[in-house]
């Protein structure tokens, strides 16, 4: 639209063959359009079209109709005079009108007329327009019409659920005009490309030929900062080319998004709330902010934000997404589903809503429904590994490790560096008692995470450390296991499962008093933990059979007033000898082993844990 509005001034000076009143009429029409007084514009444009028979005036008449939402009238005006056959701009306008009326096929039909020449050779696309409709330049000079048409085609195909073609056309549009941010944004935000493809696209774009040299770098970096960040946590530093734009909100928001995926929610929250205080409805920032609010469980702020959004933008999917997230956060899953499906109805390609929709089922252990939602999401967000990861997770939760593994490896093929996927792979390997493999997966994930976080790992990775602890324990490396669990405890203090895991390792190491201590702590936090209860009883028995009866009771009973001959020493130590001791310990060990696999087999990142953090894109 911007390109069309920018043109009138040039056109004005060209057609002055008519009486003078025509040119004033024209400028009046443009002026009214500029002032958004479309009804006045349409009135005068109508008069102008009657007075003159120039194609340009009719085009502008149709344009005003488009502005006032009279799409079919505009289409009729253009097609009745067969302008769409000869003039690319008119064709584009007609197709656009059809698009607005959601008449996808008609829009395509109109474009296809034009395209006969187009598709002949894609390499010659730049020149094809002038070849097929040589007269269009004479009257209407809307530059880059071909790129707009590509974009429109992409949008139409996307609306028709033909994502493959849609992404092809978006890419084409971007190649024709590297400044065409809309195509880029649609590609990125709708997750049409995998991270690798995105990078390939960026590097293949003809920045050098289309941009002035000083701009090429900055445009590229700007795009780069928008690229997918969900495949792997990365650095949050600004690239040097963007330094002059460091106060630009978009650039700042990109940093926040990176923080979000690095699980540094508080840093991200700081940034987004600053951005939103400057620009309260920044559409790029809002989804990230909502995701952070969910992560930080700040339901109050989310409630307020969702309310405002619904009041101001009731027809945007993001508003209803926010409402759905609020209900999900407050664990009202029915309304959450309702609002999330409303969001997906408004915009089918709203991936996060689909993911959140799946989560509402997943949390309630309704795995089939959850998977259905994730599958839809995976079709929509082809370039994003998250839906696949979640599907794998659901399969894992429904005891289907084979399928789960398959989906995880698919996710891994999309995002080979993502620690979340590596972690899940490790959990599956753990479940298959393949501990060495699990350990290597976990360690890889840990390396990834360590690379980006400075001093402290984000809390999110507590389960990774704990799982490393479990694996080390399984491999008999108790010291290491303890070390990992202790680190997990530091990341996320006062967690019952960590305490019972530490207690368990201590029990296996024979440190019964420590074990009892930790099981107590665990039970203090989570009373109905059967594992800790049984382990506590075991350890207590082991401990009590191990230690002396009471402090300082080393001496044997002896009665002073007995004559020596009659003193019969009762050797308690003999009765309490090694044999019994060993037996009890063996006993307890045996019982450890039987209870072993039961409590920790499901020690994967449970649904609640991974959930939601990544639904941050709109």
């Amino acid at each position: 639209m911007a390109t069309q509005e920018g043109t009138p001034k040039e056109n004005e000076s060209k057609n002055v063959s008519q009486p003078l009143c025509l040119s004033t009429l024209r400028s009046r029409v443009r002026a009214y359009i500029d002032k958004h007084q479309y009804d006045s514009a349409i009135f005068w444009a109508d008069k102008l079209a009657t007075l003159s028979d120039a194609v340009e005036d009719i085009f502008w008449y149709a344009q005003t109709m488009y502005y006032t939402g009279q799409y079919h009238r505009a289409i009729h005006l253009i097609t009745s005079q067969k302008l769409d056959k000869n003039y690319a701009a008119c064709r584009y306008l007609a197709a656009k009108c059809h698009y607005e009326c959601k008449e996808w096929q008609e829009a395509l039909n109109i474009l296809d007329l034009l395209d006969m020449s187009f598709t002949r050779s894609t390499s010659a696309m730049n020149t094809s327009l002038s070849e097929s409709v040589p007269d269009s330049e004479l009257t209407l000079s809307i530059p880059n019409c071909e790129n707009s048409i590509c974009l429109l085609r992409g949008k139409i195909y996307e609306a028709m659920d033909n994502r493959g073609l849609a992404s092809d056309y978006y890419r084409e549009a971007l190649r024709l005009d590297v400044y065409c941010f809309e195509a880029f944004e649609l590609l990125v935000n709708h997750h049409m490309l995998t991270a690798k493809e995105e990078h390939e696209l960026i590097s293949s774009l003809p920045f050098a030929s289309q941009c002035p040299p000083e701009e090429a770098d900055i445009v590229k970096e700007l795009y780069q900062s928008r690229l997918k960040k969900y495949d792997c946590p990365g650095k949050t530093d600004l690239s040097p080319a963007l330094i002059p734009l460091k106060n630009n909100l978009d650039v700042i928001v990109s940093t926040a998004e990176q923080h979000l995926y690095n699980c540094d929610f508080r840093a991200a929250y700081k940034i987004t709330s600053k951005v939103l205080s400057k620009d309260p409805y920044n559409s790029h920032c809002l989804p990230i902010h909502i995701a952070i609010l969910v992560e930080l469980k700040n339901s109050n702020a989310l409630f307020y934000l969702a309310h405002k959004l619904v009041d101001y933008y009731p027809d945007k999917s993001i508003s209803w997404f926010a409402v759905g997230c609020y209900y999900m956060l407050t664990e009202n899953f029915l309304p959450a589903r309702w609002f999330l499906s409303k969001a997906t109805n408004l915009e089918r390609a709203h991936g996060p809503s689909w993911l959140a929709f799946g989560h509402t089922f997943g949390v309630n252990k309704d795995h089939d429904q959850a998977m259905a939602a994730y599958f839809t999401a995976s079709q929509i967000m082809r370039g994003c590994h998250l839906p696949v990861l979640y599907i794998g997770l659901e399969y894992g939760l429904t005891n289907n490790p084979k399928l789960a593994e398959r989906f995880f490896s698919q996710a891994l093929s999309i995002a080979p560096q993502d620690p979340f996927v590596l972690h899940e792979m490790g959990v599956i390997a753990f479940g298959n008692t393949n501990y060495e493999e699990a350990e290597s997966h976990f360690l890889k994930a840990l390396d990834r995470v360590r690379e980006v976080s400075r001093e402290m790992l984000p809390e999110r990775w507590e389960s990774l450390l704990n799982n490393l602890g479990h694996v080390s324990r399984k491999l008999g490396k108790y010291e290491e296991a303890l070390e990992y669990h202790k680190q997990a405890e530091i990341l996320c203090p006062q967690t019952a499962s960590t305490y019972s895991a530490i207690g368990y390792v201590h029990a296996l190491m024979g440190n019964h008093s420590e074990a009892v201590n930790y099981f107590h702590k665990a039970l203090g936090l989570r009373k109905d933990d059967t594992f800790s209860t049984t382990m506590l009883t075991n350890s207590m028995d082991a401990l009590m059979s191990e230690i002396t009866a009471c402090d300082g009771a080393d001496e044997d009973p002896h009665f002073q007033n007995l004559s020596k001959s009659q003193r019969k020493r009762v050797k308690l130590t003999d009765l309490f000898g090694n044999i019994t001791k060993d037996e009890t310990i063996d006993d307890s060990k045996a019982s450890f082993d039987t209870t072993d696999h039961e409590p920790f087999a499901e020690s994967s990142l449970s649904m609640e844990e991974v959930e939601m953090e990544e639904c941050s894109t709109s």
């Binding site: 508080r266 930080l296 001093e455 402290m456 809390e459 405890e489 530091i490 203090p493 006062q494 009892v516 702590k521 203090g524 936090l525 009883t537 207590m540 028995d541 401990l543 009590m544 230690i547 002396t548 009866a549 009471c550 402090d551 300082g552 009771a553 001496e555 044997d556 009973p557 009665f559 007033n561 007995l562 004559s563 009659q566 019969k568 009762v570 308690l572 009765l575 309490f576």
Partner: protein, 580 residues
Amino acid sequence: MVDVPSLDLKQVKSDLIIAQRECYERRLVHAAKWSAEMSRALVVKVDSRSLQQVDEPDEFWTDYDSYVLAKSYFDVKEFDRAVHVLRECNSPKPYFLRLYSLYMSDQKRKADNMPDSNAQSEVFDNEILKILQSELSEKHSKKELDGFGLYLYGVVLAKLDLHYMAIEIFVESVTKEPLNWAAWMELARHIADKESLLSLQLPQHWIRSLFMAKVYMELQLHEDALSIYRTFMDRGFGESSYIVAQVAVTYHDMRDVDLAVQTFKSLEVMDPYRIENMDIYSNLLYVKEKKSELAHLAHKCCTVNKYCVETCCVIGNYYSLRSQHEKSILYFQRALKLNSNYISAWTLMGHEYMEMKNTSAAIQAYRRSIEVDKRDYRAWYGLGQTYEILKMPSYSLYYYRKAQTLKPNDSRMVIALGECYQKVERLQEAKKCFWKAHCLGDAEEIALFKLANLYATLGEKEQARQAYTEYINQADRMLIHNHEDLSRAYLYLANYYIDHKNWDEAYTAAQKCTEFTETREEAKGLLRTIQTRRLHDVPITPGGMSIDDSMDSIAPTDQFNAGAPRAFDRVTPVNLKFTP
């Protein structure tokens, strides 16, 4: 091992004045109060005026306005406003005050949101603590924290249950800033045993001795604590109400009730409106069952400050003494509402619930008490008792054992432990325990009797005989007359001697049995058996097989009870005994 470095009183006094100032500037009010108290008790002339002049960095003066405003906000408990005002300040004092206010606001919010002191706080909202933790740990790794900042870091870590780290940080804090008494106190709370105390690298400073005394007290090393306090009192702190109170509490822990009461009375004279430690005093009055004095104390505390943990505990004790357990629980709950980390209220509440036979509530109360401080042996003991009532001896075994480790020289714990071992059929350990209890000078003299019973059930007759004899001797010495136990002891002895054909001893014992109503009938039967069997035996047995020294006979009773049957005795050989 307990040595107090010589105190340079001038230095000490000026240290205390500086400590008070520094703590108060940072709104560590309790530490400031303590320093001021100590300082006032010390009568030494120093130049107080020059000590009040401080050089602050320039940075501080740029933050000055915000800092002063924040201090005022803090004083009226508007912590969040203080945090907001100080958000841009970076010089040490305002920075500390900001984080401290943040911490306080979190604590206040948690206290306000606490549903009921009895209900478990299931939801752990550690958001703010984690923010503090990450900020402070970052600063710490950059070595930008001063002594006070480290103290706050330690407090946050302790709140998050990261005790090992907390101890390290506190040690670092007191090394950097030895005058911050709050850090010493926090450190004292985290020391579990003597080994860990000795392993700490503490700065050489006079204040360290007071810390050591405090820790010794907590670790039940009363003599060591007392000797330090006495030294301080001799060197000029005689008028310090803090030290006198500590001495009184130590006497209380030593179960030296009279001395403790006496010390508390002198404390009352010195500092009549003191509420601190008065709950301990009320415990003493409770033990001594001095109803009127306890009532007086309760009323006095109530007029001084009604809403204060100590007051609530005193009143709770008062109602407990009057057996109004519901009311007393109410007051303990109020105390906990005021300060959910007040251990003695948790423990006392547990006792009250035990009185009311509400075991699950008692367990919860005791557990909370242990959560706050693992060294509270009364709570461990209480848990043991509760689980005993619940018939879970293996659990109570553990708890008693814990209590016993904390208080190794208390016979009550050992006996309880022994009984538990008996219940889980681990009689050897039980024997050990009872013997240990006996050696400790068991106040109620049941250990020996229980030990004897144990031998009897184990069929170790000889041991049983010795134990019973010893029991009877001791009971006689201590003038304790528990009829049931004594009668059982005599009965056993009588049977034993009959089995060993020691008719004389058997006769004496049986004779004693007749003195008790419980065993009279049985004893009569025994006497008859002895008579008939002795007559039967005498011809067969050669006279005077071995004459025992009468050491282990139940001699003491013999002389006094030479009644009618005695005459009968003479016909028979004396002290005849068969040795198998």
